[in-house]
Amino acid sequence: MMRTNYLRVVAVAAAFAMAGALTACGGTPASKSTAGADVSVGAMKDYKADAAFKATAPLSVSILYSDHPNYPLKKDWLLWTKLTSLTNVTLAPTVVPMSDYSQKRSLLVGAGDAPMIIPKTYPGQESAYVASGAILPVSDYVKLMPNYQKKIKDWGLEKEIDGLRQADGKYYLLPGLHEEIWPDYTLAVRTDVFEKAGIQVPKTWDELTSALKKLKATNPTPYPFSDRYKGGALLTMSSPGFDSAMGAGTFHIGDGTRFDKTAGKFVYAAAQPQYKKMLGYFSSLVSAGLMDPSSFTQEDDQAIQKFVSGKSFVISANSQDIGTYRDLMDESLGAGKYAIKKITVPAGPAGEIMGGSRLENGVMINAQAAKSKNFVAMMQFVDWLYYSDAGQEFAKWGVQGTTYNKDAKGLRKLAPTIDYNGLNPAGTKDLRKDYGFSGGVFAYGGSTELLQSMMIPEEVDFQKAMKATKTPEPLAPPAPLSDTDREQATLISTPLQDYVDQGTLQFILGKRPLSQFDAFVAELKAKGMDTYVEMKNKAYEDFKKK
């Protein structure tokens, strides 16, 4: 579903970009506006990194707010009142249901009616709006944001930031920044069943094969491994270990290309021998009856049901899923009669490599903001709230002494009456529902310490194990397409990606023998793969020259 949504967004956004370009011709370009009128009303003169921010005059800033149904917005949240008393800034939210957030964002940006701050925008989503001129090229204004710059410098994020640059060399999104990669998706296994059969938790994909074989031999089950997410999470997590880049369905990695270091250019990931190897691995699982062939087609609910009822022992999971599985298994198998765990992602032929990005969804700024008399103060506010340690802690934990307390060692603990995701089961109030903190609009990113401060110990262990064993995948260099190229690239890459999805399924399920892989590559070429990769390489070369 997400995929079709995405396509729709792209189509709609393309239309908006055109509409925006038309209006831009008639109106004044946003870039001119900074000259002239005073834009620093309310701004702090001596604002610097790690300093507290408080606007010198009260101001109100509009913000697009994605309303999460599980913790719907309330006007009397402590988040709002405290934020205003701390910073002198009142946020005026335009409330959009989470279900259709990206569509509404496209509409508002396209109609020139967007709020000043547009959060919850994932890297790449901003590209569609660049041509319209409706979004501020924030790279020109980061000098107003000392905390943001400090985090990039301290955590060495320059290369990641370069990846955001558009063909004009500027970037338009202030991404959420993570100190380290935050891996989440992996396999969950029934450790009790593994132990009973005398199987070690697998460390590589090959070990997983032999583990599954033993499970099949010792348990009366048709398939020991039945996956959810239509196999998408599985292919995404295994890709780096196979030196490939391919997800499926909603889990596609990037745009389907991969940077080949030795050749110094981009290649199409699905046409590479590494990808063939990966397909070969999973098709061997299916043909040996170790993996449920319906893994790639069944609904999540069906896969979950097989796992929680003890018909399968391995399934994809993220940190939330584990909790869901446990709730369901307490009901189906009984508490204490099972044990499950997220294992470190098995290593592939390319070694212990982990994918993922240190950039999160972030904030776009409306280009009209640059004309506002409060522009500088607003940028300082964004800098403080989203990028300073104090701001991030505030968004995540709330107010010290009210929603949480800190002990001598700096360890945070929720107030006795407040719960968050079962962290303090005795609490009767909810940090998100009743106070507004830790919501998706403001709280993300940050230091590893802050990120892990709200994880259950088991998840922290998983994070540590991943960090200890894995090396992050090298970043691809920036290769931003120009506006005209991007449109053409989308026209080619979307059907190409769909064709790869089909091919992937056919190869893994054994409907097409792997000996036909070369024919498959030829078919991809016939669908314009070379033109697409060439475009990407040209963009890469062009950008290098700048």
Partner: protein, 289 residues
């Protein structure tokens, strides 16, 4: 007189066949109702057909305990009533006008209406228009645009065209003017089509969410469709957006069924009341030719 055997057999088959059709069309609905009362485990295991398994009211409780649900429900009722009223007044008068062959420029008016069936300004221009009319964040943004459905308009027009002209001539002789004819003669004889149109419009307005999604920014103005839609999204993406609320970790299929039942019940209740107007032959015998 006794029916011949062949006819009896035919009737028997007819009954069985129609019952089968009833079952086929009714089953999905019953299944949905059953799912809405079932526990998540039983739904995923596929145990639920038309009887709830593992009786579960948790989702209903959570949804109905939310005061925003009731606020939005009220909005839906209000929007539906107002929008249907506006639509009916405009559609009826427009259709009646263009149903008269002696109206000057009649074809022009029809063409004007039909044109909008094929060409629209598009999403953004519409949005800009509504915004600059000052209708954003008001009920009017939902009830005024698209008040006339051209499809319904044409149906009504042909209905009025088929009305015997002699009836109206008789009314003129009795001294009624144009408005009197419409209100006292034509409309009372058009209950069937009016009921149909009211049903069409109210169902459309009841289910509408897109307009509200476009033009409303305040939660307290949303219709219940948006509330429920967002809830389903929350249930199916809780995993990827990093937050499953503890007391609402029902699976999506349960939540979906609950929302379907909650949103469909009132409009379902309208059908029996409207149905009595779906009668043929109101005009029977009124005119002798």
């Amino acid at each position: 007189m006794k029916d011949p055997i062949g006819y009896k057999v035919f009737r028997g088959f007819n009954v069985i066949f129609l019952l089968l059709i009833v079952f086929v069309t009714f089953y999905p609905f019953l299944n949905t109702v059953a799912q809405s009362f079932s526990s998540e485990g039983n739904i995923t295991a596929g145990n639920v057909n038309i009887v709830p398994r593992g009786f579960n009211l948790e989702t209903y409780r959570v949804v109905m305990a939310d005061s925003m649900f009731w606020t939005n429900y009220k909005n839906t009722v209000l929007y539906t009533v107002v929008a249907t009223t506006i639509s009916m007044v405009l559609t009826t008068t427009f259709a009646y006008g263009i149903s008269k062959p002696h109206l000057k420029g009649r074809n022009g008016f029809i063409a004007l209406a039909v044109f909008t069936m094929f060409f629209t300004g598009g999403l953004i221009p519409n949005y800009v228009l509504i915004t600059s009319l000052g209708m954003k964040n008001t009920m009017w943004a939902l009830v005024v645009p698209n008040a006339i459905s051209v499809f319904n308009l044409l149906i009504m027009k042909s209905f009025f065209e088929n009305m015997p002209v002699e009836l109206e001539e008789a009314a003129v002789i009795d001294g009624l003017n144009t408005y009197g004819i419409l209100l006292r003669i034509v409309l009372p004889l058009s209950k069937a089509i009016l009921a149909t149109m009211i049903l069409f419009y109210s169902v459309t307005n009841w289910n509408a969410w897109f307009g509200a999604f476009l033009y409303l920014d305040k939660k307290e103005l949303f219709p219940v469709t948006i509330f429920l839609r967002n809830m389903i999204a929350g249930a199916s993406t809780a995993t990827s957006t990093g937050g499953s609320a503890d007391n609402l970790t029902q699976i999506a299929s349960n939540i979906k069924s609950v929302t379907i039942v909650l949103s469909v019940l009132p409009i379902l209740a309208v059908y029996p009341f409207v149905q009595k107007y779906f009668v043929s032959g109101v005009m029977l015998g009124s005119v002798k030719q």
